[in-house]
Subunit: 362 residues, 2 copies
């Protein structure tokens, strides 16, 4: 077995100890005589798995008591609809969106199906290479919520400051920065994300929602399973959840605790990002594409400025144990996603390879 | 490692060779240097996994060319809403339902949110222990579809004859009988089910839908991801799907082919069911609860008639390597789910144990 350095933007690299444990427990989970895949979601062993996962997540993020944690299916994309369905007033819902990349743009478009959605600011004018100035934002007085995608995976930008929303709940898609460093949950109405970038395998989203936003009076045609109240009341077990995916996320939470929690992993993530950005900033060949002040510590897009050279780099990287370094199909170039499970050595290996490539192609 | 005989109604027993292969490939899938969990859903290896899974499923069920296969999240429960959203006329949708158990009842209730839903027949008068007479059904002339749940997991009944619907599409939830024996797909408009009973781990539903029912003009507030057209146009890759779950289902499809396809597994399933029903029919202690003509070959509920004795049986079974034999919390008693991956020896072991228990408690 030889493992590659996998810079995929998601689904993405997972901690090796987690995969090893999953493999070992595949046919017999802790003496139950069955795989977690085969386990009734109403059984004691599975109840313990989901309870422990939630408790560990609450520990890691220091989630206040008055927030519910929901394990749901359908990815962030389903929440693009569920958010307005759960939060918009039935008579004339209004929501504000900041559009800083493809994902917030998609969420904004979906919200229009359900009420008035305002785009307060957009960075599309410069290919989403920056985050709009949050100090210039004026939240609509009748807004049901303000929506942001806090880390845009494709363009490698992140909000280093949050917009002031007063009493209007802030809703944040954190898919590609989930659990990458500490965050103050109490500043948000809703934090949510797909887990397949930094937390676990694809097929699960986690919604962390303040209790007063878990409402009975959602838009009338909201499917039962898209109502946050359904999932909150049932402890995410209204129907059969993505049991095995929840189990793997639980193992990742345990691993994160062993890394010193979000403080520990956050420190390492900043070191990893600095390693790569420092190289990019002195390189004569490679160039980061996101505005410096808005750089993500998770997704690092870069280019040579020459599409043929980009292609050559991607091909040679692939031959040298560097997988999925190609940029998103919508923007081209390269992108290194350096999530929690990417070791420092992986980033160092990439930087060394880039330095060698630069020398050879000077 | 010691495995139990797991009679869970779902999530449920999976073929041991599938679990072994999954464990072996966990850290390095076929030389890619990564787990399937870590694989970009836009990568060639994953595209090959999902393409192969679909092709094998099409082979197994002999799915005609004019049917789409969709791999979706959210379980059958999300489809309870998606079905009326995709099939009901925007101006005054009408749907007919036969209510033969808890699952069709839930689906019926959900449909009422979206238009007129008619209950054509129900077997609730006798605790859903039988399937209503399909010959007595008269489909509404303006119905957008007729809905059935073809095998009710909790009550252990199955339709051995389908209702005649003429031009009205027949929609069938086959969750707990999926791939248990051959079926004629061309008789249906939509066949769908959660995979967590007979096909794979929880977190995926499969929708097999006739092309003309994959429509653009769905109900206007239908979330993008719940529109079948979204998933059909994107080959189930509009957003990140439940990749690992699809991979496991793919392994199960290969295993099914090795068992002689649905003919082979169907023959074995009928043998397994006969073993258990024959014992029940001669037993003086145990009694099957479903009407004989409507018995399921997958889910076999039974009772002693004495709740204390039921509890004693369940406890002793648990001590003797028989897991999850307890009936659904809504009906009590016992239930043996004897899905594809339950070996004949497992059913024989159960029957022997029941005979011993009967003798000891005569």
């Amino acid at each position: 077995m030889s493992r590659v350095y996998n810079f995929s933007a998601g689904p993405a690299v997972l901690p090796e100890p987690v995969l090893k444990q999953a493999a070992e427990e595949m046919l017999d989970y802790q003496g139950t005589g069955m795989s977690v895949m085969e386990m009734s979601h109403r059984s004691k062993p599975f109840q313990s798995i989901i309870d422990t996962a939630e408790a560990d997540l609450r520990d890691l993020l220091a989630i206040p008591e008055n927030y519910k944690v929901l394990f749901v299916q359908g990815g962030a994309t389903t929440q693009f609809a569920a958010i307005p369905m759960n939060l918009m007033k039935a008579e004339g819902g209004v929501a504000d969106y900041i559009v800083s990349g493809s994902w917030s743009k998609k969420a904004f478009k979906e919200a229009k199906m359900y009420g008035t959605a305002n785009c307060l600011a957009s960075s599309e004018d410069e290919t989403f290479s920056y985050v709009p100035d949050v100090d210039a934002i004026k939240v609509s007085p009748d807004a049901d919520y303000l929506y942001i995608c806090q880390n845009e995976t494709i363009y490698g930008t992140t909000y280093h400051k949050l917009p002031e929303t007063g009493d209007v709940p802030l809703v944040s898609d954190v898919s590609s920065m989930f659990l990458s460093e500490p965050m103050d949950v109490s500043k948000y109405g809703v934090i949510y994300g797909g887990v397949q970038k930094n937390v676990g395998p694809a097929g699960l989203a986690i919604v962390i929602v303040r209790e007063d936003l878990v409402r009975e009076d959602v838009l009338p045609f909201t499917p039962t399973l898209l109502r946050w109240k359904t999932m909150a009341d049932a402890g995410s077990l209204y129907n059969t959840p993505a049991c095995y995916t929840i189990y793997i996320c639980g193992l990742v939470f345990k691993w994160l605790k062993e890394q010193g929690g979000l403080e520990g992993i956050g420190k390492r993530n900043h070191e990893k990002a600095a390693l790569l950005y420092d190289f990019l900033d002195q390189s004569k060949l490679f160039k980061g594409t996101a505005r410096k002040e808005d750089r993500s510590i998770m997704n690092v897009p870069f280019i040579t400025g020459d599409a043929d050279l980009d292609a050559k780099f991607i091909a040679e990287a692939g031959e040298n144990n560097i997988a999925n370094i190609k940029g998103h199909r919508s923007v081209g170039g390269m992108r290194a996603s350096i999530y929690n499970a990417m070791p420092v050595e992986g980033v160092q290996y990439l930087v060394d390879f880039m330095a060698k490539f630069e020398k050879e192609n000077a």
